[in-house]
């Protein structure tokens, strides 16, 4: 019996544990704490954080417990991540939630969503310079897209073994948008600029909203076919929403379906961060590059807005350029808050939504381009 006890004990976490598991469990707990106590993207940080706990319970191989053991439950659920199935489903739900009115009212603001994507490619160069493979560099660059599903999707296609660090980096920084962006916004804009009030957008007809997702989908995917899975679902979801007659499908897409996808995506991505595979120099580099790309993306958005003002008759408030990184809707909220600190009567939220959502389209296209150039 003592043998049996010993044998069993040698299979417990108390015997098998490794300092890296402990570190990761700590990080996971921090994620959960930030999600709950600080309300940073809780729908993402909490599942990922708890996933980190699950992934870092010290387990013995062979029984089929670990996410990297085929035939384990986690492995089956992780399949939706490695094959890039969850992200399009999440996009379907997002599409069924998103209202493109402001963007339709003032299409020019789309350019801000484009500008912020420069962060992606600059980070890509940075990653190459730090010695990453081209495909890995592309995946790392996409962190600057500030769009979790897009990042996971591209990484799953280009550099599967980096899914953990890149997803975690992307979501952490998206969660930290309220911390990262304001200083940059302050730095790159004058008070005068921050005080600019934008004119009311024109009223958009139901028909425009109805036609937009179809046109947007066809145009963007003709240009970047590899953006199909993401943009296709995003626009499909939006059609379901705007059609009204398909409301029940839109309803399911924006509730059960996206929630289920989010839960499974979050917990498995978290569980994929097993200490031994996650805590590596490369991960550190990825985090540094990720932070960089967020700052650069924000900066590009802001600066491009200032450039646009040189040409536009009715000036725009350059702050909304920062919303071009996507990170919907947090970065738009941040813009709003920063704007109000200067002038409480200035409501930028609605205006910031335009670059915000076009940032999503922008990074999906960027992902498509990178995928087709690297894939």
């Amino acid at each position: 019996m003592d043998v049996l006890f010993l044998e069993f004990f040698q299979n417990t976490g108390f015997y098998l544990w490794d300092y890296r598991n402990i570190i990761m469990i700590f990080i996971g707990s921090v994620f959960i704490y930030l999600g709950i106590a600080k309300d940073y993207e809780p729908l993402l940080l909490v599942p990922i954080g708890f996933g980190m706990l699950i992934g870092n319970i010290p387990i013995f191989k062979g029984l089929g417990l670990g996410i990297y053991e085929s035939n384990s439950v986690l492995h089956y659920l992780y399949f939706g991540v490695t094959q890039g199935i969850y992200p399009p489903l999440v996009f379907l739900g997002i599409g069924a939630m998103t209202d493109f009115s402001t963007l339709l009212a003032r299409p020019v603001l789309m350019l801000l969503g484009a500008a912020a994507q420069a962060g992606i490619f600059i980070t890509f160069l940075g990653a190459l310079a730090l010695g990453f493979e081209p495909n890995e560099s592309a995946a790392i660059g996409i962190i600057g897209g500030a769009d979790g599903p897009t990042a996971i999707f591209l990484t799953a296609k280009l550099a599967p073994r980096l899914i953990g660090p890149i997803a975690v980096a992307a979501y952490s920084y998206m969660a930290l948008v309220p911390v990262i962006q304001p200083p940059i916004m302050k730095l790159l804009t004058t008070r005068k600029e921050r005080l600019i009030k934008m004119e009311e957008p024109r009223e958009v007809t139901k028909r425009e909203k109805m036609v937009f997702p179809i046109v947007a989908f066809i145009l963007c995917c003709f240009l970047a076919p590899a953006a199909l899975p993401l943009l296709g679902m995003l626009c499909f979801g939006n059609v379901l929403k705007e059609a009204i007659v398909t409301e029940r499908l839109a309803q399911t897409a924006r509730t059960s379906l996206i929630d289920i996808a989010t839960i499974l995506l979050g917990v498995t991505v978290g569980a994929s961060t097993q200490g031994d595979v996650f805590l590596k120099a490369s991960s550190i580099k990825i985090f540094i590059l990720g932070a960089l790309s967020f700052c650069v993306a924000t900066a590009c958005g802001l600066l491009f807005a200032k450039v646009m003002n040189l040409f536009l008759k009715t000036k725009i408030n350059p702050l909304i350029g920062a919303a071009g990184v996507s990170a919907v809707p947090d970065s738009a909220r941040v813009v709003h808050v920063v704007g109000q600190r200067e002038d409480p009567s200035n409501f930028l939220l609605m205006h910031a939504m335009a670059p915000n959502v076009s940032g999503v389209i922008g990074s999906a296209i960027a992902a498509g381009v990178l995928w087709s150039l690297m894939g």
């Binding site: 789309m110 484009a114 730090l130 036609v211 947007a216 145009l219 970047a224 990178l370």
Partner: protein
């Protein structure tokens, strides 16, 4: 390999330039199309407007041309109803309008639609199809 050498080796500069320019051209293209879309759709709906007007003309003649009065609330709701009505082209059946109005929870659609019928802002072609008399509606909206 590190630094610039690495970037050059994997043709990084070119890729970045291509990449960002694709993204830009994509969104520029889209924003241009949208800005036109606005007009196209407008033009289209005017076109059908005219068809409709022809079709409904003889009926309209018979109408007294006094302007119906709308309260602020009625104006608001009617605007919503008009938006909904237009989803389905310029002609629509009342049942359908009701149905859609309910889904997109407009308040008391029945009552408002009846009023719009009564005031001939929604006009019938006598064959179960209805249309919106925009002229009349707009003037009714403007009127204080």
């Amino acid at each position: 390999m590190y630094g610039f050498s690495a970037i050059n080796a994997s043709n990084g500069w070119a890729i970045s330039v291509v990449g960002i320019s694709i993204v830009f051209s994509g969104l520029v293209m889209l924003s241009l199309v949208i800005s036109q879309l606005y007009k196209i759709l407008g033009f289209w709906s005017n076109l059908s407007e005219i068809k409709i007007r022809k079709k409904f003309k003889r009926r309209k003649r018979t109408q007294a041309n006094n302007l119906p009065f709308l309260t602020e609330n009625q104006k608001e709701i009617s605007r919503q109803l008009l938006l909904i009505a237009q989803i389905t082209g310029n002609q629509f059946s009342i049942e359908r309008l009701m149905h859609l109005a309910q889904i997109s929870d407009v308040q008391e659609p029945k009552q408002h639609i009846d009023y719009l019928l009564e005031t001939k802002i929604i006009i019938s072609d006598g064959l179960g199809q209805f249309a919106w008399d925009k002229e009349k509606f707009d003037s009714a909206i403007q009127s204080k």
